[in-house]
Amino acid sequence: MVSWSGLGRSFGINLLKNHTKTLNSVQNVTFTTSKTLLDAHGHKTFVIQPSRWQWHKFKDMFHFYAMLGLIPVGAIIFYSNVFIGPATLTPIPEGYEPKHWEYYRHPITRFIARYLHQSPQQDYEKFMHFLDEEKQKQKLRQLEKQIVKKMGERQDYQAYYYKPMINKYLRINKKTGEEMMDRIGDDYKD
């Protein structure tokens, strides 16, 4: 970016080579790398003056964005307005269903509607599907809540309020007891 305008600068200066001498000696800066800065016969002065940095920066950026943005976008806009032009409003022919971008007048709007945006009808139907699914989930949750409540009230069903026992440790315990019983009998006293 910076180097472009640097090229521009030396190009412009080289075109106006005759004028550079006075300009540069006054401003005491050079915009070219091909010439010596010092004027052998003049006074060697260093004139203090305000910075031109922001001005050069502005030119750089203006150049950059004009090249990158304004020119291509402007060319596209110019082309589509001049060589394509707006559509003409027509009644819908019998038995024909227009595509969703055919409801727009300008070619750029049509392009955006066709290639960048979703079909509005598709979105509409997708949203209705989403609503339907959510409603069904809601109904199921409501039903589940009712069932759980009834089971809690009646206590007659082996789910939610019934916890199955694990008998493994009970059997081990029982076996240990039986072994002790076998070893020391039931008339044991401390």
């Binding site: 001049v82 032009g85 003409t88 409003l89 227009p98 727009y104």
Partner: protein, 160 residues
């Protein structure tokens, strides 16, 4: 300047000068339009979208959210269209008023009456519902109005 314009030159010098001045801008623009733009442009149609009518909110089951949504979307479309119609009627009156001033009160009376009547009809359906109005609220409003009218008589000539 084009050929036929030279033939019938304006005898009035001032007017000729002004039209020449005008043509410095207008002639190239018109020439570009006629020579480049019009022959190169494509002809293709665009359409006004037409929506199929769906069941209204009073025909929906209470737990049918899809029907509710569709009726509501239709209600919002209808409201947009009705508001647009009202805007056109209003701008007709306003144009007439600007043109006929100071006789607008007499000359634009028919347009004003039409606008006022349409505004009333619009307000009977959509008024006082707020920005978040939906089909259900409008339906309830209609119901309440009908109940009130049954007891106290009609509120407007339009609901008679």
């Amino acid at each position: 300047m084009t050929k036929d314009e030279k033939c019938d030159k304006d005898p009035n010098v001032f007017r000729a000068f002004m039209s020449a001045l005008y043509n410095t801008i207008d002639a190239p623009v018109t020439a570009f339009r006629e020579k480049v733009v019009v022959p190169n442009q494509k002809q293709y149609p665009w359409y006004h979208q037409k929506f199929r009518r769906v069941p209204t909110i009073d025909q929906c089951y209470e737990d049918d959210v899809v029907c509710d949504f569709e009726a509501n979307s239709q209600f919002k479309r209808d409201r947009a269209v009705d508001s647009e119609i009202l805007g056109i009627l209003r701008s007709r009156y306003e144009d007439c008023m600007l043109y006929e001033n100071p006789d607008h009160a007499k000359k634009c009376k028919p347009l004003w009456d039409v606008y006022k009547e349409s505004e009333e009809a619009w307000f009977i359906k959509y008024g006082d519902l707020g920005a978040y109005a939906d089909a259900r609220k409008a339906y309830m409003k209609q119901k309440h109005r009908m109940v009130w009218e049954k007891r106290h008589g009609p509120l407007s000539d339009l609901t008679r």
